[in-house]
């Protein structure tokens, strides 16, 4: 156990899961509680970890002004990167045209359509906590961030009298990282079970049914990672090898569980060790989960045009762009929930009078698509913390 790294064990877990899902799908489906327990344990980390890191980080960074600057830089960076992801998705789907020549079955669409996308005003309201304990109980990441931001700023301005609370937060952050480490011992099992359940209930057939769409999606994601994120790494002069080492574990966990929340604690810990200051990780990472969903943005642009193509509806570039902007707005603030992107997509398509049958088709392969977009989301967020740290002039020296 000691000899192999956690990453190696996660790979072994994934391979075992795939084998089990293929060989004994019935048994594999029974493993759902195992992956659920793992995911629940990870979710239990998030609220205390965010509180500890953010309050200690912001109170320690000393100035509210600095945090405002970081927030502004983050938003600028998020918008640039997600726009690039969106353009890439549109280009890819218009080049390969995976939806053409498909016949859509007119059944089973209702299930996917029933949920409406939330309105902008409601999303905005939902960002602000009315009780932080309630936010923590429900795992509302953005609300926790807003509360901790204000709370940490208050600590910073009170100064000496806030010492006990800030020390508590520092200590809590440290403890929760250790807690994460313990929970991660379960990762190979949890991840293997998650994969086994997916394969066991969907089968490998899902991979071939819509091969062209899946291939387009995966190639586009790879292109995005290599060329866009790669370029960002070059420009910001981030040490590539160490960055890859830092993100491989969170990336794998996100990929196999299709839940970006599952990867959050480990991603935060690894980025801190990578050398990103605590207050930047604590702020940029969770807000990125709402505003910097690179993989999801790419997927949404690709999928919506795919549906139009499959339905035989011709969209002009102008129409496509307007639809994209709508998707970008509606998709904020719903990260962390597996399959949430699909609900957003269904609602948006409906408002553009596009047929829902396409969504049913997408639902069938969503598990496979979700893995790709979630892992790219996590990758993009890890990078965002490093970029902002560089932008703020930090050297990214490794922490013990």
């Amino acid at each position: 156990m000691r000899r192999l790294s956690l990453t190696a064990w996660i790979f072994i877990g994934m391979a075992t899961g795939i084998a089990l899902g293929t060989a004994a799908p019935d048994l594999a489906r029974q493993l759902a509680p195992v992956s659920a327990i793992f995911l629940r344990l990870i979710k239990s980390i998030i609220a205390p970890l965010l509180f500890g890191t953010l309050v200690a980080g912001i109170a320690g960074s000393g100035s509210v002004k600095a945090m405002g600057r970081i927030g502004l830089k983050s938003i600028v960076y998020f918008e640039i990167v997600t726009t690039l992801a969106l353009i890439l998705g549109l280009t890819a789907v218009n080049v390969t045209r995976p939806g053409e020549g498909m016949t859509l079955e007119r059944t089973a669409a209702e299930a996917a359509v029933s949920a409406k996308p939330p309105e902008l005003a409601a999303i905005l309201e939902h960002t602000f906590p009315s009780s932080v304990i309630d936010s923590m109980a429900k795992g509302e990441v953005l609300q926790i961030v807003v509360f901790c931001f204000l709370f940490g700023a208050a600590c910073a301005s009170i100064g000496e009298k806030a010492r006990p609370v800030v020390e508590f937060a520092e200590s809590l952050a440290e403890i929760m990282f250790r807690y994460t480490k313990y929970v991660m011992y379960l990762a190979p099992i949890g991840v293997g079970a998650a994969i086994a359940v997916t394969i066991g209930s969907k089968g490998f057939a899902v991979l071939f049914g819509l091969g062209k769409l899946i291939l387009t999606m995966y190639v586009a994601q790879v292109i995005f990672v290599v060329f866009v994120l790669g370029a960002v790494i070059m420009i910001a002069r981030i040490p590539l090898r160490r960055f890859i080492e830092a993100v491989e574990e969170p990336f794998l966990i996100a990929f196999s569980t299709a839940s970006s929340e599952a990867a959050l604690p480990l991603a935060m810990e690894n980025m801190e060790r990578f050398g990103v200051p605590k207050h930047i990780v604590g702020f940029v990472m969770p807000t990125g989960y709402s505003f910097n969903l690179d993989g999801t943005t790419l997927y949404l642009s690709l999928a919506s045009v795919f549906v139009a193509q499959a339905a035989g509806v011709q969209l002009t570039i102008g129409q496509q762009v307007i639809m994209m902007l709508t998707l970008m707005l509606t998709s904020k603030g719903v990260a962390g929930v597996p399959r949430a992107a699909l609900v957003i997509l269904a609602g948006t398509l409906a408002s553009f009078q596009l047929p829902m049958e396409g969504v049913a088709v997408l639902l069938g392969i969503d598990a496979v698509m979700d893995m790709a977009r979630t892992s790219v989301n996590v990758l993009g967020n890890c990078l965002a913390t490093a970029v902002i740290a560089r932008w703020e002039g930090h050297a990214l020296t490794p922490q013990p």
């Binding site: 759902a32 509680p33 659920a36 327990i37 995911l39 629940r40 344990l41 979710k43 239990s44 998030i46 609220a47 205390p48 304990i133 923590m136 109980a137 429900k138 795992g139 006990p164 020390e167 508590f168 520092e170 200590s171 809590l172 440290e174 403890i175 929760m176 250790r178 807690y179 480490k181 313990y182 929970v183």
Partner: protein, 406 residues
Amino acid sequence: MTLTSAIFLAMAAGTALGLVAPGFALQLSPLTAIFLRLVQSIIAPLILGGLITGIATAGSGKAIGRIGLKSLVYFQIVTVVVLLLALAAGNLFRPGDGLHMRGAAAGVETPQITWQAMLEQSVPASVFDAMAQGQMLQLVVFAALFGMACVGVGERAQPVVRFFAAVNDLMFRYTHYVMYVAPLGIGAAMATTIARGGWSVFSNFGRLIAAEYSALAALLLLFYLPLMLAARIPVLPFLAAIREPFAIAFATTASGAALPVAFEKMEAFGVPRPVLNLVMPLGFCFNTAGSSLHILLSCLFLAQAVDFHFDAANQWAMFAVLLVMTKGVAALPRTTLVVIIGILNAWGVPLDALPVLLGVDAVLDMFRTSVNLIGNCLAPALIARIEGVSFVPALSPTPETPAQTR
């Protein structure tokens, strides 16, 4: 007048009131509810503070592991004993024979909780959610991981550990204050129970009640008592110490309601806080002797009531399954029922007699909860003895420490 005597006086008064003026007595239920709400507000911070402090300050993981392991082994022994008693009682009294209830009742409510869900619900998705909903097992899991993480972090975990140690102390004092309301709450609970006329079921299902009460009594007299004598735990001081928690458990049938004051009393009895903080919450989740007994006996009763014959082999199979399945029944509300239904479904026994069981349950529940409580007070004392603590009666001549007599 001491608090304990006030509580017993209130129980007597409540019983009298329920008999004399049932209409008025029924109006008193808010008093019970208020008391129970106050007590329940103690549990989450008390458990969290206690377990985290207990694990974090025990110094070495070894000591915790040893105490935890000993507790779990002991709980498993108790489970074997109670299940044997239940088997014996079910076959001696045959409480369901002659009822012939097959087809008697349709539309039995089946809880929507599956085993998978129960398993998943044993770990927390958010500790704040677990606290808000009073999910004990989730709290225990979180606190155990968190406490171990504190040990792992070491010196830099001190601010958090000190915080939880303070919470632990504070909640003991908080409990003390809440207990001043106990006589009112308990008296009201007795009055409403009596006024609801729960006692008429005695005549109808006397054999079931007799079976369960005798089995529970056998557990107390033939297992717990000899165990105490063998471990040299002073019996009378122990009984004195558990009087108050016993009264609360009996009157309110709320497992958990008696927990805070049981903590307080067992500490006064001489069980060291580290042992108490670990064993008590574990026992609350895994040492529900009364409930385990009730589960097996109910399964036998329900089968007998629909003339379903369990041969010896199947009874032992059920016994084996329940050795595991009775663990963690305190994790979710109504889980005893889930386990009973799960077992009967597994053996294909019709559930026709279930409504009857639910009707008698109020009466059975009082004794069952009290026995759970006694077992949970005994366990920390016993583990403390095994760990080498001796209870010198002179140290706690009466359960009333000076602070409690006012």
